[in-house]
Symmetry: C2
Subunit: 318 residues, 2 copies
Amino acid sequence: MYYVGIDIGGMTIKAGLVDENGRILAKKSCATKPERHYSCLVADMYNLLASLAQEQGIDFDKIKAIGIGCPGTVNTKKGIITYSGNLNFINVDIIKEFKKHTDLAVCVGNDANCAALGEVMFGGGKGTKNAILITLGTGVGTGFVVDGKILEGVDGAGAEGGHICIKMDGQQCTCGEKGCWEAYASATALMRITKEAMKNNPHSLMHKIVSEHGEVSGRTAFLAYKTGDKAGQEVVNEYVKNIAWGLVNLVNIFRPEIIMIGGGVSHEGEYFIKMIEKVVVKHAFGGKYNKVCPIVAAALGNDAGIVGAAALAMQEFN
Amino acid sequence: MYYVGIDIGGMTIKAGLVDENGRILAKKSCATKPERHYSCLVADMYNLLASLAQEQGIDFDKIKAIGIGCPGTVNTKKGIITYSGNLNFINVDIIKEFKKHTDLAVCVGNDANCAALGEVMFGGGKGTKNAILITLGTGVGTGFVVDGKILEGVDGAGAEGGHICIKMDGQQCTCGEKGCWEAYASATALMRITKEAMKNNPHSLMHKIVSEHGEVSGRTAFLAYKTGDKAGQEVVNEYVKNIAWGLVNLVNIFRPEIIMIGGGVSHEGEYFIKMIEKVVVKHAFGGKYNKVCPIVAAALGNDAGIVGAAALAMQEFN
């Protein structure tokens, strides 16, 4: 049997035909154009899956279920997208809309939660039942798998680990609050810290790097770090500390079997993950009596959305 | 059928005979004397339960199982108390020791986790499956029930919510780290804040209250607060804020159905709980689209340990 994983992003809708082992046989995408009514987006999703099936020569009766992952607050139990700012969705009954096109089983979940489940079933967390995936990008996304199942919270409003406060009255976050982990550990935060350090260190190599690359990016400080630039090293160390303290909180609560780090910054390499791990191990509660689980890079990369949505479908309809 | 709940504290071992509805039929206690070898403590526990059964005229074959709750890191799956500072226990196989006395089914769990389960099954969280219990005392204890089950984490090392960092580089905590929630929201923290405020406000009514009561306590600021004393009000407001921000973190992660607050400070009354709730609702993620669950006082009080341990036994052996 096959599954279809659909990943709705603010820019692109991606769909993939996925087998029972989480392998993507084929994928297709189209522009989201979120200014449209949701029924248009759903029609596009259906068309993607129909053409995927046709091109792969797979009958609909070989497709067991469809999973949809989308950003925002999603109530998987009720099949409702309560709120998705990126997609202009408020209380959208996406399952009902999808059922206008097909009788296939459909479910919907938050994209970060789906990605965590996908990583647990087929990626970096394979073989575990209790895992955390954090995604360091524009924001900080978190997905929690507890006892093999997504932790969604009432009405799907949980798993917003990016908005745990790690510094009361601290840095302003885009959510309106102050001191959120996201305001310290996102790639956006890294760029802010980089810019501040550049201002305070006019002779740092970071200035040369930026003039070569055109602008400050999430890589600026890392490039300087590797050359031994002191200011660059301070930025990276501060950023590592920021990521680690949020993880310490999650470790102290969940003590998962594995923590996976995804998102652009995670591609920085093994050394960066190890730096984070070192700080987490140092500060996690319980010291020598309580070992901290391995911290690894997420494995599914850009396919996490599709595989995660398909994984949700496997879990919901098995 | 009956259950026995045993609550091992640093000072006292309490045991209770509990029915299937979580009602305590009778209870007994003895001094812990934790300087002794654990086999002596287990012998005492067995004696408590044997005399309870005898006095109540209940045959051992009417006792379905025994649950033990104890502070520290407890691995329920393996039946091992990994580490309990208060009891001088390191890697104690308490089940094996207990089995030397009786063939009855026995299980062990962390006391705060057991209390959370007890509250969910028979107390303030009855009817829910996803709940959080926080206990504000010398420290801040937390217990999480997810999908009707205790969240214990690998080797039982999780659920240490008192040690989530809410202020990086902040107040020193007894655990060795800085900025832990416990260092802001425990009764100990309240007394520290009270003392600081008294120092800075020599005319505060808190000085009079302390001279009448003999020493600063967790009640000092509350008593002053109620008379309209400005410094007392500032202390209470700061303390409420400190409690609330830790809860905001837990709400953003778990979105439980209910949050229960236990411990001495929780007896302050409904108005205090409502003050906390107001701040949590204001700062929890998602604003108007995501309602925050009710926050209530825990219901089981001093019996939470016994009922919680019995609740664990019911869950493990049902």
